[in-house]
Amino acid sequence: MESGKQHLIKFNQRWQLLGYLEVFLYALGIGLFAYFLASNILIGLTVFTLVLILLLLIKHPWSHNLNTTSSYIDAHVAEASFSTGLLLQPEESLSNLARLQRYKVSHELKTRLGAITPPNKVKQASMVLVTLLAVGFFLNKLGLFSGVDDVFNSNVNPEHIHFIAKDTLSKESVLPKITNQVISVSYPAYTRLGHKTMAEPNVKAVVNSKIDWRLKFDNPISGVFMERMGKSFPLQKVDDGYTIRQSLKESGFYSFKFKNEEGVEFTSDLFSIEALPDNPPEIEIIGLEQYTYFDFSDTKKIQLQSTITDDYGIDEAYIIATVSKGSGESVKFREEKLNFNQTIQRGQTSLSLGKNIDLDALKMDVGDELYFYIEAYDEKEPKRSVARSETYFAVIKDTITDQFAVQGTLGVDQMPDYFRSQRQLIIDTEKLIKDKPTISTQEFKFRSNELGFDQKALRLKYGQFMGDESEMTEAPSEIETAEAGEDHDHAEDQENILKEYSHDHDGDNEHNLVPSQESVEAEDPLHDYLHNHDDPEESTLFEESLKTKLRKALSIMWDAELYLRLYEPEKSLPFQYDALKLIQEIKNSARIYVHRIGFDPPPIKEESRLTGSIKDIDNFRKTENLELDQPFAAMTKAISRLEELIQKQVIFNELDKEIFAEAGNELALLAIENPGKYLGVLQGLKQIENNTGRTISNYKTVQKGLLSALPKTKQIPGARNTYTDEINSLFLKQLETYD
């Protein structure tokens, strides 16, 4: 009894199947049509799939269920008597009459259903398929859409390196083709770019990358070379191809050449390699004035915010801070390296760093200045590139500095410290001895004592250069007594005794040029000297022999002073002379020292000096041949040759080949800076050279490129050809008579 329903289900399935078939046929037709147009199986498949999905969505053949089937059968099979619906209902729920009818229908359908087919458009679809097939095939044969073909297929072919036979006569020889070509770029490790494999022969990579070319040929070949910027590198043979590894240092061009079995040489087009530079890091300091000023009472802190970026990774960054103290000659610098608040993780391409610089922590005082800048390194190998920011300044203002100024009202400046020289002392002593009979004893003693003081001052002056501790201890105590009379030493006793004589005029100020009070101050500077000579570094002003000499001179001065103080200038005089002699020697030895490093003149022939004889002097001759530097000679030649080839259509000869090869080399040098710009011209030149582009239009493009690549003509004087006309000459001669 169920067989009726079975038939219905079968019919339904057939209906669905036909629906699917119809959709498939349409999609196949359109897909094949697309394939014929584009000549690309991929395109065909894509179009087929898309259309299939689209049509399925529109038609949804699965939607035919038993209900729609039964209503269809009711409408088309009279014998079904609109009762097929009964077949779908369970038998038990039907009335008897209905069961009878159901049986009848089921019986009828068994025979009838085989005769009718579900509604379909398969025929129509097949027609469309055939038509599209025919039209597509026809169009494909016509080649109307070959452009489309090129567009879609071009992504495979041009990347492959093509070769052209150098020897144009043997065109019939087999042209080996590249079956597989792999170019892999190994970027330097620090860039973290790893490896990249490409088929495109124009390579762009970071400087110091390693580039591998791996070429496989379909025919056996030999002598494969890479030509790069005028140099040839052989390719190594590996199991099934050839390989070469090159390190990328600078931009340029390359091509391959090889020989086939018959020894015919082939060469490829020219391709560019562009070296992308690894730029040093970029540092930006945010929101900070170049100059920052602080008052003493301010909180002396600087908020430094900066961002550092690099194209491949930052290795290190820090702040270099320099503190300058003092001014003028006594300025001192202290340099410190400060780290940022954040720790720097190596290899990051962008960093945002901050730092609080506390001027107090840097032990800066009033008037001190701080200069700082940021230094950052990237990870470039072999040498890291470094970048520096601008220098920023921070100054703690010093408001109490006073400046020296000479004012008009103070006409007299304080007298500078000065000493009588030993020679003056001798002269004065001799004068004193001479004057002795004519002057009073008081006067004599006073002057003698005064000379003694000057002798002391002189001794002290030389003593300071000694820096000798034993001498030094004596000197300050002396002076201090002379001024204030506080200390009591064996030497000062003398002074104390002499005090009444020397009260007013002891000191430098013997001529009373300034008020007596100031004579006290006048000695003040000696304190400075003494202080300074505490520094042991400065005590060794002289070499050892000089030191002993000086010490000797000082002790002699002591004796000289002693006798002056004892009012015995006659006895003092020999000591003074000895001291003078020693001082002269010391001075001279210093001079000799200067002398030694100076110019050492050649010995003068006294007999020929100033005679004016030049008989032994000869004329001087020099011959030099300077190579004329013409870096673009071949390019110039190539341009004029091209003009001939274009204008006169002369025949290309072997000599031209050399010119164009040479011009290519010259242009390549020019093009290193900018490989992309001249690649076309270089390829054109290569094509002219290897006889694949000897056409007028190529000549013109190459000539245009060469012309624009040539630099400006240099201005050089030179002779011109002219015809000298008799009449003109006569005219010029006549002109002169009127001058």
Binding site: N619, R621, L628, Q703, K704, T713, K714, P717
Partner: protein, 584 residues
């Protein structure tokens, strides 16, 4: 022929006469045989007259007649129909001729007493047609486009090509672009006004050879409107042989000598370092002692550079030798200035200076200032400035015979090099030295008289040479006839008719080096310029033409009716007379 008479068919005169004589002879013979019938003489006369009438009918006799009012109208390219119509309606019986260079109009012109020419006019090579005709030329307006152009079509490498001209009514916003032979732009300008605009474009060629540069007009969006060729022949300069004489070595000389030697010139430097002792430096040349300044030594050099102290301390005989070489063989001398030069009197120093109290000068178009002596060149006959801008002249030369002597007021030009302005330094010296360098003598000089030659139109050339025996050969090996000018024995002129567009060459058969390249333009090139020029030459040519109408003699055919009558009567008598006799 008899005065005033002629025949239309002069060509067949003799055969016709012979035929007539034969016919007459046969008739006489026939009459002689039948003499008995009488009246032989009468018949012979009648027959003679009849045959003569036939002869005249065949030959069509003409008679010269004086005509003094036969006007013509010549239509040339660009004429306006309106103008033509009004002229035709004003002058009854005017003969309208169409000017076409391919068709001869000489015969038509011969019959005219005066002619109007309208349109752009006739090309100058056809002016001879109008030699004794009263011509009234009514010009058209100048065409739009470039109507004046001047540029040097022969330059030396390193020189600038300067294209000057004017454009009649350019489109506002259009560009005029000067391009090299392959379309690299060299210079351009945009028109901002509509009237007649003058333009000046320039560019420096980079290589030597013959090239066709282009002057292109584009509209404001870059659409090409017109392109015109500018053929240029660029020659290379020849290296020099220079002698430098110095009293003592100076930096100025050092840098100048380096500059010259590095560019491949042969340079010999002689600088004195003590009395009678010299330092000789030879660059790019073999060492040759330069102690004596004989004519032979001086003649070797194209240029002598000497400091004033050296040059003006030469003895009279040496100085005369220098001057002789300057004047006669065109030697160039450059005197490096010093205070000494400015203190000299004009008569001995060649130059006259005036104090200007300026110690430095600013070079044009740059921020560079150069030290100079506080003098300026005073105006002098024969002294020409070399470097002169708005300010004082800083270098000048004096023409002395064929040669030139130059000097400058610049103190230390090498400062330019030290400042890094090498280009300015090179320009400075190139300009000065180029002005005075001895010229290489060549045997002949070509000059194109026609400046826009076209295919199949006459191209006139002048040739200056002292050669006595030579002939000009064109590209196909054909000889070009030349005419020597009677007064100027070294000037020859000739005419060629170019056969192809583009570069053509002429050469002298005895001297393969003396080639002359000329460019033959396309009919479409420089249309407006050619038209403007044709209008101008026509206006000039026909301005002072004979205003009085000439009288022309025309051969008018004599009416043949008389001959017909004579023939009819004669033949009738001859037919009738035998009949009358037999009837007797």
């Amino acid at each position: 022929m008899i005065d005033g008479f002629s025949f239309v068919h002069n060509v067949v005169l003799i055969p016709v006469f012979i035929g007539a004589l034969v016919l007459f002879a046969i008739y006489l013979y026939k009459e002689w045989v039948n003499k008995s019938r009488g009246s032989f003489a009468l018949n012979a006369i009648v027959a003679f007259v009849t045959i003569a009438a036939v002869v005249l009918l065949v030959l069509e006799p003409t008679k010269e007649v004086e005509v003094d009012d036969q006007k013509g109208l010549l239509l040339t390219d660009g004429y306006s129909e309106q103008q033509k119509d009004s002229l035709v309606s004003l002058n009854k019986g005017i003969k309208v001729l169409n000017y076409d260079s391919g068709i001869a109009i000489r015969n038509e012109l011969d019959s005219l007493t005066s002619i109007y020419v309208i349109g752009q006019g006739v090309p100058s090579y056809d002016f001879s047609l109008f030699n004794d005709l009263a011509v009234e030329y009514i010009p058209i307006e100048n065409p739009l486009g470039i109507n004046r152009l001047s540029y040097a079509n022969q330059i030396t490498l390193g020189e600038k090509v300067q294209v000057n001209g004017s454009y009649n009514h350019p489109i506002k916003g259009a560009f005029l672009v000067f391009e090299d032979s392959r379309g690299n732009g060299l210079d351009s300008l945009q028109f901002v006004e509509n009237g007649n605009t003058d333009f000046s474009l320039s560019g420096t060629p980079k290589t030597s050879g013959t090239y066709v540069y282009q002057l292109i007009i584009k509209d404001s969006v870059g659409v090409l409107l017109d392109t015109n060729p500018l053929p240029i022949e660029i020659k290379e300069k020849k290296p020099l042989r220079v002698l430098i004489l110095n009293n003592f070595p100076t930096f100025e000389t050092k840098y100048l000598k380096n500059f010259l030697a590095e560019e491949g010139h042969e340079v010999i430097v002689r600088s004195q370092f003590t009395k009678g002792k010299f330092k000789f430096e030879y660059f790019n040349t073999s060492s040759l002692p330069v102690n004596q300044f004989t004519d032979a030594v001086l003649n070797q050099f194209d240029l002598i550079i000497s400091d004033a102290d050296t040059y003006f301390s030469f003895g009279v005989s040496i100085k005369n030798r220098f001057e002789k070489n300057i004047q006669e063989s065109g030697l160039g001398v450059f005197i490096q200035p010093s205070e000494f030069l400015f203190d000299l009197h004009e008569s001995s120093s060649y130059f006259k200076f005036k104090r200007d109290a300026k110690d430095e000068i600013q070079l044009p178009n740059s921020a560079i200032t150069l030290e100079k002596y506080p003098y300026d060149f005073d105006e002098q006959f024969l002294v020409q400035p070399i470097l002169k801008w708005d300010g004082p002249c800083i270098a000048a030369y004096k023409q002395m015979g064929l040669g030139r002597v130059a000097t400058t007021t610049i103190l230390n030009s090498y400062q330019l090099l030290l400042n890094g302005s090498d280009e300015t330094y090179e320009n400075y010296w190139t300009q000065i030295l180029d002005a005075i360098i001895k010229k290489n003598n060549v045997a002949l000089e070509w000059k194109a008289v026609t400046h826009i030659p076209l295919v199949d139109e006459p191209f006139d050339i002048d040739l200056y040479t002292n050669l006595k025996e030579f002939s000009i050969v064109n590209e196909d090996g054909g000889l070009v006839p030349t005419v020597q000018k009677p007064m100027i024995s070294n000037k020859y002129s000739g005419t060629v008719y170019p056969k192809k567009k583009g570069w053509n060459t002429l050469k002298i058969n005895t001297d393969s080096a003396s080639r002359f390249s000329y460019y033959v333009y396309d009919d479409m090139d420089w249309k407006s310029l050619r038209t403007t020029e044709t209008i101008a030459v026509n206006q000039k040519r026909f301005k002072n033409t004979v205003n009085k109408n000439r009288t022309v003699m025309i051969d008018r055919p004599i009416s043949p009716i008389l001959c017909y009558i004579l023939f009819l009567v004669g033949i009738g008598w001859l037919w009738l007379s035998p009949k009358l006799i037999t009837d007797k």
